[in-house]
């Protein structure tokens, strides 16, 4: 017999007039890892927030350990054993690990200074979960994965029955994800239930016992571990909507002209960095010690303090000490996490105009017709409804926000686009949009520099990958060949056994 920790029946919730949850049913059993996936906007995060009690719900019933929560109110209450961990952990950065763990303990009398008894318990909990962290270290000095470890430790320390993990692995490396998997399995062994909300299907299927697939705010598929199949999951997510054929990256030709060349760059973590980017090519960077290659990234973000070396863009020397605005004028474009790469309160049209202000203005006046035509042409080419042209981006779908974040650089005729973890928080359709964008760059003989903690993404999107070590290029590999080598290694993550 299984014990039901949470049961959700017919949950409904509307936000900004659109029905985000439309009759969701869900059960989480004791000691199971339940995955929850779906396309962007399918209601995963809203469901997680309602379960955690940070959002109210309009219709339906939620039973937490048999106790019913009424519609119109909030489901989660402090002390009911449900803990919500978000991508940005809610920890006090200036406090130590042990202080953060003990701080929220109900009935703690010592305030932020933990008692000896509490410290002993924290150490025991960390030992039980095999978490090796310096408990006196400041949270500020920890990596994102380590911060999530602290959040998990706190939940376990506070006797969590269910831990909801809401899209926390977007910025994880494969190695970190694998370690998280081991930690979750340990928690499962201790009888804690986990709800893993995740948009990357290959990750959500790695170590979950059961998977709930959401579509249009409903649970349209439940799969048990032995039934997992990529095609079935993708189809359940998309329903009647025909999945676009997975866009394959068109490999750049070998005899291309050089678009960007960096030569013997030294300073701020770089020690003679030399590489080149051909026209129509996507090049990735990976560093074992620093997954996002921040030192190389900084070089093109206008933040680097270099001592020597040259950068040449399309035959013209570039002053690499320039600020970002100057680099944009020279032909660089930047896309980070798509939501933070647009102005959410402005419309798509205004977002495009701001980026391409130089091209759309003459004598300090904006060409209104040109501006409108450009935006309409883009929407038509990408098959998006033109009525969304003037709506603030925060009110349109995530896909349209991603399109705005990417294609504004095409309209700006940028020569090199720097993409920093651009697939973070995207679903399969959005990934296709990114691939289409890269192909469009290739067609226009532009190039892209790609940085991502997820090596799988690097080999999927890049033509070549530079392996960086100690501030210099250690090796250059063709992505397809490298991907094949790595594939077998990734497969090992699928069956993590304790």
């Amino acid at each position: 017999m299984k014990r039901e920790i949470v049961r959700v029946e017919g949950l409904k919730k509307a936000i900004h007039g659109s029905q985000v949850l439309n009759g969701l049913n869900l059960s989480v059993y004791e000691g199971e890892i339940l995955g929850m996936t779906g396309l962007s906007g399918s209601g995963k995060s809203v469901a997680a927030q309602i379960l955690a009690g940070s959002r109210s719900f309009e219709e339906g019933e939620i039973y937490i350990a048999g106790r019913k929560s009424e519609a119109g109110g909030k489901a989660g209450r402090p002390g009911n054993g449900i803990y919500h961990i978000r991508a940005v952990p809610d920890l006090f950065p200036c406090l130590t690990v042990e202080e953060n763990v003990c701080l929220t303990e109900p009935g703690a009398v010592a305030g932020i200074f933990p008692t000896r008894m509490q410290l002993r318990k924290v150490r025991e909990a960390a030992h039980a979960l095999d978490i090796c962290l310096d408990s006196r270290a400041s949270v500020n000095s920890l990596s994102l994965y380590e911060k999530h470890q602290v959040s998990l430790l706190r939940a376990y320390y506070l006797h969590a029955k269910l831990i909801i993990m809401d899209n926390i692995t977007n910025d994880y490396t494969e190695e970190e994800f694998c370690r998280l998997g081991r930690l979750l399995l340990r928690l499962k062994q201790k009888g804690v239930s986990i709800l893993l909300v995740e948009s990357m299907t290959e990750r959500v299927t790695s170590f979950t016992d059961r998977l709930v697939v959401l579509r249009n705010g409903r649970d349209e598929g439940i799969l048990f571990r032995e039934e997992y199949g990529q095609y079935d999951i993708n189809k359940m997510m998309s329903g009647d909507y025909n999945l676009p054929e997975a866009v394959g990256r068109v490999a750049a030709g070998r005899e291309q002209e050089v678009l960007l060349e960096a030569c013997r760059i030294c300073g701020q973590g770089l020690q003679g960095l030399t590489f080149h980017l051909n026209k129509g090519e996507v090049v990735g960077f990976t560093d074992e010690e620093d997954a996002l290659c921040t030192s190389v990234q900084k070089l093109f973000l206008g933040d680097a303090r270099t001592e020597s070396g040259t950068v040449v863009l399309d035959g013209e020397p570039v002053n690499i000490r320039m600020k970002r605005a100057g680099l944009i004028e020279l032909g660089f474009g930047y896309v980070d996490f798509y939501k933070s790469s647009v102005f959410p309160q402005l419309s798509l049209k205004d977002n495009l105009t701001i980026t391409s202000l130089n091209r759309l203005t003459s004598r300090a006046m904006i060409h209104a017709r040109l501006e409108k035509r450009v935006a309409e042409d883009l929407l038509e080419a990408l098959n998006f409804p033109s009525e969304n042209l003037k709506r603030p981006l925060c009110e349109v779908s995530n896909r349209e926000q991603l399109v705005a974040a990417l294609y504004k650089w095409i309209l700006n005729r940028s020569k090199v686009v720097v993409l920093n973890n651009v697939l973070s928080g995207t679903d399969m359709i959005m990934r296709n949009i990114v691939k289409q964008f890269l192909n469009e760059l290739q067609r226009r003989k532009a190039g892209a520099l790609l940085f991502s903690p997820n090596v799988r993404e690097l080999y999927e999107l890049c033509d070549r990958v530079y392996k960086v070590r100690a501030g210099r290029i250690e090796e250059e590999v063709a992505a397809a060949e490298w991907g094949r080598q790595q594939a077998s290694e990734f497969e090992l993550f699928r069956d993590i056994e304790l």
């Binding site: 017999m1 039901e4 048999g66 598929g221």
Partner: protein
Amino acid sequence: MERDWKKDTEFISRNTVLAFTGNALFSVFYFVMPFLAGEIYGPGRLLAWTGIYLAVEIGFCAAYLKLLRKPVNRMMEAVKRASQDEYEAQNLRSQAEIFALQSQINPHFLYNTLDTIRSHALLCDAEDIAAMTESLSTLFRYSISRPGEMATLKEELENVRNYLLIQQYRFPDKVEYLVEGMEDEVILHYPMPILTIQPIVENAIHHGLEMKIGKGHIKLRAIRTEGRITLLVSDNGLGMSEERLEQLRRSLECSQAGQETLSGAGRQKGAGIALANVDRRLKFYYGRQYGLRIRSTLGVGTMVEINLPFEAGEQDEKRNRQG
């Protein structure tokens, strides 16, 4: 639902007793104490005293009625629903009686004929036909001779197996039948309305697997928790479009409200009627929070979730009595 109703009754009776007692005490003290103290003298004073008393009483009554409004409304709803259920029950009972009358003559004739065919088949060494006829006979005996009865999950599974045996002859090597999580004796001896699972399996074959190219499977899985038993019948057949699925879900909701279910196309194909009937029966037996839930994706398959109530203590008692 019943628990809510009981709570409301308790709430109303407790508050009524409290209100009346409090009111009586208040009235006594209000009039007796000042009278004894000599505060009430003369008609004018008495009138004023009574006026204040009436105003307080009216206020009190209004507050009391406001307090009881919600539980009384809920109770009225429950009574309305109960009378509707009773009406439905009467309908179902008369239908069952008609079925019983119809089948008084026919079944025996049918069973005898099937037995005769089986004997002839055995005499002619046609073992396939004999096995098929036996399955058909068992299937009829199970479904016709016990209308309105309860059956254990074990019996239901056996009935499904008989049904699938016949289907195996119709579509050889087309359907694989898998059962998981049925090791639990409590689940196997759980009583449920007869013919709960077989119509769902029949639907899965007819609408999901029959037209599918290649082999398919039907999987039956059971999950028991402290308060309910969930049976999951899933197939990897054709599945259904979102529009069709929505139509089917609406038909289940309508069947709950006792309305006509499927429109045009759905009715012609006969799809969904069986599911709506099963859902209606389960809701009738166990209450509105139980019954069927359907999930489906075109090209992937369909999963029907059967939700049944389970009370551990009650089941153990029944098993002990049987033992």
